[in-house]
């Protein structure tokens, strides 16, 4: 399927130059909270991608009929129902992960990325570009979560997806898991490191200093 350059920009822009977390600094709260293990990070990434994509598409379909005065309320209702459905499905098919994510599935409703995309994109564009924009932003959010989750689980618990990857021999030689990695502050530092590397590679993102 050939994508025009505009759709490509809509889909791929949020992965790097327009990334919701590391450029726009949105959705940090959940990014810090759920990334202590790789598995919840992955599930959260998928959940947010699905919700953003479908919320974008639904709002885009409704955009010509929504009364302007209750615009935000309509957006919230759509997002909240999608989140409730995701949460119900998780409870039914992935109970353990749902326990780990606890309140954060519900809090997808308040994820700034969602309302931001609905207001900024879905209200002014057709359903298909809006859907792609949602996928793009969800993935842009998701890959940061997965990277942070990867390093936090590897260094904090010595496991990946709950499988031990650091060999016992290393522990016998005196290696210890870094307990700090499990706590939220280290996620902030890791996100900071990613922003640092990203800006170093994208000079146009750097603020001008006087």
């Amino acid at each position: 399927m050939a994508l025009s350059s505009k759709t490509k920009a809509v889909l791929l822009g949020p992965l790097s130059k327009n990334n919701p977390i590391i450029v726009q600094v949105l959705g940090i709260c959940s990014a810090l909270a759920v990334t202590s293990k790789l598995e919840p990070s992955l599930v959260m990434a998928i959940a947010v991608t699905i919700v953003t994509a479908f919320a974008n598409m639904i709002i885009s379909l409704l955009r010509k009929s929504i009364p302007n005065r209750i615009r935000i309320i309509v957006q919230l209702v759509v997002v909240a129902s999608l989140v409730t459905i995701v949460s119900e499905v998780l409870k039914a098919y992935s109970y353990d992960v749902n326990k780990q994510l606890s309140v954060f599935v519900g809090l997808i409703v308040t994820n700034c990325i969602l309302m931001g995309r609905l207001e900024a994109f879905a209200l002014g564009n057709g359903p298909w570009p809006s859907f792609l924009d949602g996928i793009g932003n969800g993935l842009g959010y998701g890959w940061i979560l997965v990277v942070v989750g990867f390093f936090r689980e590897l260094l904090g618990s010595g496991t990946l997806m709950n499988f031990q990857v650091i060999p016992d021999a290393l522990y016998e030689m005196g290696y210890e898991n870094n307990g700090l990695m499990v706590l939220a502050p280290m996620a902030l530092l890791l996100v900071g490191c990613i922003i640092w590397i990203h800006r170093a590679n994208n000079k146009e993102l750097q603020e001008k200093t006087n």
Partner: protein, 237 residues
């Protein structure tokens, strides 16, 4: 069509809410059965952990069926309430939630682990940020603890939340609830402290309030079973 018209706005909101409500209740109905099954499996895993068995989600049901021989409710005199026996999720022992308003009796699970007969008793209490709960497995003398399991809703990771870890839980095994024919529970104390006249375990450093919560939970929830345990204790002597 005028989108700023109040009548249009009201009808729009009403129709939207009805559609959404129908959609959500439909989803809930469809998935309800599976969700309840998950909750039940989770409860079985907790009971099994109190018996020092770490069962995976797939094995939990089979392990539970193999080990838990009987379950029933007891009244406040410690006698079994007739007609409440049964171990399946639909039976009163399994479906009774401690702390609910219409509590018929206190649930007891009887398990047979090898040669040992073990009574598993549920507990419920308050931690620092939210509810804590657990299961205490007591041997047939009504006093010696066989194993324990704790859960929490929202204790601090790395501090209070450590109560779920085997390092904390395993301390309870072998401790005695009854001393000199009197129910004394088990104290949770600051690491390094000691308590005369009752058995104790070390609390979590930095998780003082959660540790105190566990201490109170043992005293209150297991205290409710005092008559039941004393009856068992008396029968053994």
């Amino acid at each position: 069509m005028n989108r700023e018209n109040s009548g249009y706005t009201i009808i729009y909101a009403a129709v939207m809410v009805i559609i959404v409500a129908l959609g959500l209740s439909f989803t809930h109905q469809v998935l309800n059965e599976k969700q309840t099954a998950n909750v039940n499996i989770d409860k079985m895993q907790q009971i099994l952990r109190s018996l020092n068995i770490d069962a995976s989600t797939d094995e939990a049901q089979a392990q539970y069926d193999a080990l838990v021989k009987n379950a029933y409710l007891v009244d406040n005199k410690g006698t079994k309430i007739e007609g409440t026996e049964g171990t399946t999720p639909n039976d009163p022992a399994f479906s009774t939630e401690l702390g609910s308003d219409d509590l018929q009796g206190l649930p007891v699970y009887e398990a047979q682990v090898g040669e040992t007969k073990v009574y598993v008793l549920p507990m419920r209490g308050a931690g620092l940020w939210g509810p804590i709960w657990g299961y205490l497995a007591v041997e047939a003398d009504g006093s010696t603890v066989y194993g324990s399991e704790f859960g929490h809703a929202s204790e601090t990771p790395g501090l209070g939340a450590e109560i779920v870890e085997p390092a904390f839980r395993s301390q309870f095994s072998g401790k005695e609830l009854i001393k000199e024919n009197e129910f004394r529970s088990i104290a949770v104390v600051k690491p390094g402290q000691r308590v005369a006249s009752r058995d104790y375990v070390d609390g979590i450093s930095g998780g003082t309030i959660t540790s105190k919560g566990v201490d109170a939970m043992l005293l209150n929830s297991i205290g409710d079973y005092e008559k039941f345990l004393m009856n068992l204790h008396a029968a053994q002597q």
